[in-house]
Amino acid sequence: MSLERWIGAWPVYRQLTGADRLGRGKAAESRRSAGLTPRTDTADRVVASVCPYCAVGCSQRVYVKGERVIQIEGNPDSPISRGRLCPKGSASKQLVTGPQREQKVLYRPPYGTAWQELDLNTAMDMVADRVLDARRRGWQDTDSAGNTLRRTMGIASLGGATLDNEENYLIKKLFTALGALQIENQARI
């Protein structure tokens, strides 16, 4: 930094030489302030999304930098929300980036008193085995009158109101093929 710039950066010099004689404005501007821009300006990309809370369907813009979400706010283009968000929608960044997010598969064995970590693939394999076992044990071919049932009562599921349509589609399709029909949703509640 040249001496001239160094002196020029000194607020008192600026106060004495500039228009801000009381040193309450331009002369007091710090280096941080001088260089301030919205962090969204530095985003690598802006991704169009939809708020995951209620069913109004407010549009969100997700700002991503270095593969991390740095801001989520409303999308003014939307005819539904006009860029606005409620407190929950406004807290979306905390929802997706906060420390409360679980990262690991956890397993509680029968009669256990603590969680254990479990490898994802192992867990998937264990669940698949248990699905087939419960399916077999709860299987019903016919009712007492001989009518076809072709189902299992050993497996139940609840959820899906914050899941995507595509996800619910696969859930229903797979469970139906397995003969599991106690497949339910918040929509019943």
Binding site: S49, Y53, S81, K88, L132, I155, L158, Q182, I189
Partner: protein
């Protein structure tokens, strides 16, 4: 009504404020004064659970003053149709309709039919379990003939026409009766009637908004029917500014009904087959009948296309397109029935997918005890929730009912990917699909449900490979070849298959009209057909609102076929002209020979208003040019539902299951067909005519706060939301505070026969006592977001409620119950069980309490308890 829009849907409420700024009058009818009431022109306090009495009063006001929109009613509703001579009304039978069977607590609905249709007698219990509306799609029940054969009286004078039956049914719902039942002073009620009717008609329309304040009742479906009747009488359906808005509470709860994870439905509101459906033809016959009008007439194309999407090449005409691969239902397999089956050891494994029933479902204790009696439980969520940790922090640990070392349930917790870590569509509350692009990759073991179920399916298929067992064919033949990106299945490809593909060309179909019943199309959900028209993901359209017309047709995609207002043919008169210029939406363009307008017409584009169907036509071809309600079997909107509801063709005021007062209209106290499960672990508080209701003298209701989200899994963990509403509280009026010695911010506990719940007291003028008949009724209110986990904790409010359900849709009554409230904290540990047991003893509660559902006619009636899950031979 039954909605707290400003709090539960704040961003949607901007449009209410916009309308208000333009002169609309906003009325909020709710048990308490909320943030919605604060911005309304008028707030009406009513007793929780009495909305049908209020709405029935409005219907009576309309009909007795001749304020209905008569041309609309005559043209577009079933008002002129004559009913069978066998029909008897609740006015004749002390609160019951004809066909009631006390032994099964259900109706034989055959006497509710139109005159010209001869419906055979059906056994009551079979009707309740196997022809229940939850087994029908959204198109509702079928009729045996089209409107052409139905006797009618266009003058609406015939004593057996729907219009006159309606008039008589509601004649006793006078302002005085509304005041006595609801606690609403009659002048205030009449103001609502005047505002509603004066703002409806040719030149004006009124909109009705409801939420779970209407659905979570033992008569919930009939609440909505009552609202529909008013909106139809006033001509507010299918018209701009009109309508009934069901504000739904979750990002894609509409989508998860359209593409259901519900036991009784297949995608697109096709019913799940039951044991009476021996083959595809039999199944289709139950959906549509020869001569029946409307687009359910093409149910064969929808069903075969679905089966082709499910089982691909394996589904052929010869094997009935694998129809036999579908499991069959034979009764109530809803979530509450299943919960009880878990307690009874009939269910082994349970998946919870972004759902927290330990807090969010009624009767949390029942939920947790059920989870503690499983072999295994899979929980997939963003954060650790109470339903995953019940084995170590459920309230039942403290009471000794669950002991970790003796609880065998194996629990798998899978961290889920969030909404920005995957792409896909949500369907919002007005049926609009909006695509989300993926922003970032999930980290660690976080995965989407799409990933989880795709790979679970893959693993299951691998494990069953080579099986010769016939029951494994549906799994092995399942079409499961969606495109993948890395190991993540492509949501875009799944959506494309949901839209439907013409198997001859390999291209997407443009809409459900392009689906065929000959196996040449595959479509995952017929009502979503068109979302991928022209091989373009239409739900991803985001043309800015500044560049579009008022109906913004190029933002997202709304089913069906991007029509924004359902049944908008009714916005024009029978001749196809808008009812008024001010309220024009779609109309017939004679010159171009097509329907046109601001919205996409919800009608066949080139069918002229004067079109009359040929004799013997059925399905869409049978729709006349003025049959605006194109999904209905007779082309008309139903003021009277000749079939499809198990608790009556018309809404009737019944008291809630737990009520402090006797039904003032009828001997029949509650919904005579409501689902009661008389089990020791699911007790009810006594309600008149049962004795000892005074032990639980107050009415309790619950709702959400803006600052939290349902069971709290997405809000109680966030500092920015938790600090805004940090603790469970109970709101009481100053009058009740005085009566019970409750002090602002001190502790109190609310007690029902299920449990007692601690909460901090908030004394507020926003709650007020009501005068109901000869007594004063106090209501208390609690938000229900808390549980043991999270940054802010509290007791689980849903533990207060038992399980009693609407018989049509099996939704629990959790918006109203009776309770007591006492100052100070509840007892802890096993002392809590003794404390609640003592309340039950004082109230004389047994498993039978609340199960004598038939009270009409006065004499002592037997108890009715829902049977266990239908038994079957292994």
């Amino acid at each position: 009504m039954g909605s707290n829009m400003a709090e539960a849907h704040p961003v949607g409420f901007q449009w209410v404020m916009e309308a208000k700024a333009r002169g609309a009058r906003v009325i909020h009818i709710d048990p308490r004064f909320t943030r919605t009431s604060a911005l309304a022109d008028q707030h009406v306090t009513l007793r929780a659970g009495t909305d049908i009495a209020f709405l029935g009063g409005v219907i009576n006001y309309i009909l007795s003053h001749g304020l209905e929109f008569r041309e609309y009613v005559r043209a577009y509703t079933n008002a002129p149709f004559l009913l069978s001579e066998r029909y008897r009304d609740t006015e004749d039978l002390d609160g019951l309709f004809s066909g009631y069977d006390p032994a099964t607590a259900s109706y034989d609905a055959s006497s509710w039919a139109y005159e010209s249709i001869d419906v055979e007698e059906r056994g009551g219990s079979r009707h309740k379990e196997q022809s229940a509306p939850y087994q029908h799609g959204a198109g509702g029940p079928s009729l045996d003939a089209g409107a052409g054969r139905i006797a009618s009286d266009p003058t609406l004078e015939h004593p057996r026409c729907v219009f006159q039956v309606l008039k008589r049914h509601f004649a006793r719902y006078t302002p005085e009766m509304v005041e006595r039942i609801c606690g609403v002073p009659r002048e205030r009620f009449l103001e609502v009637c005047r505002a509603w009717t004066e703002n409806s008609g040719r030149e004006r329309t009124a909109a009705l908004v409801y939420s779970v304040g209407w659905t979570q009742h033992s008569v919930g479906a009939q609440y909505i029917r009552a609202g529909s009747i008013i909106q139809l009488l006033l001509g507010n359906i299918g018209r701009p500014g009109g309508g009934i808005f069901a504000l739904r509470g979750h990002a894609s709860i509409q989508g998860s009904t359209d593409i259901p994870t519900l036991f009784n439905l297949l995608p697109g509101y096709l019913p799940m087959p039951d044991t009476t459906h021996e083959d595809l033809a039999g199944y289709l016959d139950s959906i549509r009948r020869p001569g029946q009008k409307g687009f359910w007439g093409n149910a064969d194309a929808y069903t075969v296309s679905l089966l082709k999407e499910y089982w691909g090449e394996a589904a052929t005409a010869e094997n009935d397109y694998c129809f036999d691969y579908l499991p069959r239902i034979n009764g109530d397999h809803g979530t509450y029935r299943t919960t009880m089956d878990m307690i009874d050891g009939k269910v082994f494994g349970y998946f919870l997918l972004g759902q927290n029933p330990a807090v969010g479902s009624a009767h949390g204790r029942l939920q947790r005890l059920a989870m503690a009696n499983l072999d295994w439980l899979v929980v997939r969520d963003l954060t650790m929730i109470e339903s995953a940790t019940f084995w170590r922090d459920a309230p039942e640990i403290e009471t000794g009912e669950i002991v970790p070392e003796r609880c065998r349930t194996e629990v798998f917790f899978f961290p889920a990917a969030s909404h920005v870590e995957k792409s896909g569509t949500f369907t919002q509350t007005q049926r609009m699909l909006q695509w989300r692009d993926q922003a970032v990759e999930p980290s660690g073991d976080q995965r989407s449900e799409l990933w989880f179920f795709y790979h679970l399916g893959r693993l299951v298929k691998e494990k069953l490979a080579g099986s010769a067992d016939e029951r494994d064919r549906p799994v092995l033949d399942l079409a499961w070849d969606y495109r993948t990106e890395g190991d993540e299945p492509s949501a875009d490809d799944v959506l494309r298959h949901i839209n439907g593909i013409d198997l001859r060309s390999g291209r997407t179909v443009d809409g459900y009209a392009g689906l065929r019943a000959d196996g040449t199309t595959a479509c995952g959900c017929w009502i979503y057909s068109g979302v991928y028209a022209d091989e373009v993901n239409q739900s991803r359209r985001r043309r800015p609102r500044f560049e579009q017309g008022p109906y913004e047709a190029e933002w997202g995609w709304t089913w069906p076929l991007n029509r924004r207002v359902l049944y908008n043919r009714a916005s024009a008169d029978p001749e196809g002209r808008p009812w008024s210029e001010r309220k024009a939406l779609v109309w017939w363009d004679e010159e171009r020979g097509e329907w046109t307008g601001h919205d996409i017409p919800d009608f066949e584009r080139t069918k002229p208003p004067g079109h009359r169907p040929p004799e013997g036509a059925s399905g869409p071809q049978a729709l006349a040019g003025d049959d605006a309600f194109i999904m209905m079997a007779d082309g008309k909107a139903w003021l009277f539902a000749p079939s499809g509801l198990v608790d009556g063709p018309l809404p009737t005021h019944y008291e809630p299951h737990e009520s402090p007062v006797r039904n003032l209209l009828h001997g029949q106290q509650g919904n005579p067909t409501r689902k009661v499960y008389g089990r020791p672990d699911n007790p009810s508080n006594p309600a008149p005519p049962e004795a000892h209701g005074e032990v639980f003298p107050f009415v309790v209701t619950t709702a959400r706060l803006t600052e939290h989200h349902t069971a709290g899994g997405m809000s109680r963990q966030l500092p920015y939301l938790s600090e805004l509403q940090p603790e469970l509280f109970v709101e009481v009026s100053p009058e009740l505070a005085r009566e019970r010695g409750l002090r602002h911010l001190d502790w109190a506990h609310v007690i029902t026969s299920r449990t007692a719940v601690d909460a901090r007291v908030v004394v507020t003028d926003r709650l007020a006592p009501l005068r109901v008949e000869d007594r004063v009724v106090h209501q208390v209110w609690l938000p229900y977001h808390w549980g043991p986990a999270g940054l802010v904790g509290g007791d689980v409010v849903n533990d207060l409620f038992g399980v009693v359900a609407d018989p049509n849709v099996l939704i629990q009554e959790s918006k109203v119950a009776t309770c007591d409230i006492r100052s100070g904290r509840r007892p802890r540990g096993p002392a809590l069980l003794r404390y609640v047991r003592d309340y039950r003893r004082r109230a004389g509660i047994t498993a039978e309490t609340g199960t004598r559902v038939m009270t009409a006619g006065g004499e002592h009636k037997p108890a009715h308890i829902e049977p266990d899950s239908p038994e079957e031979s292994p």
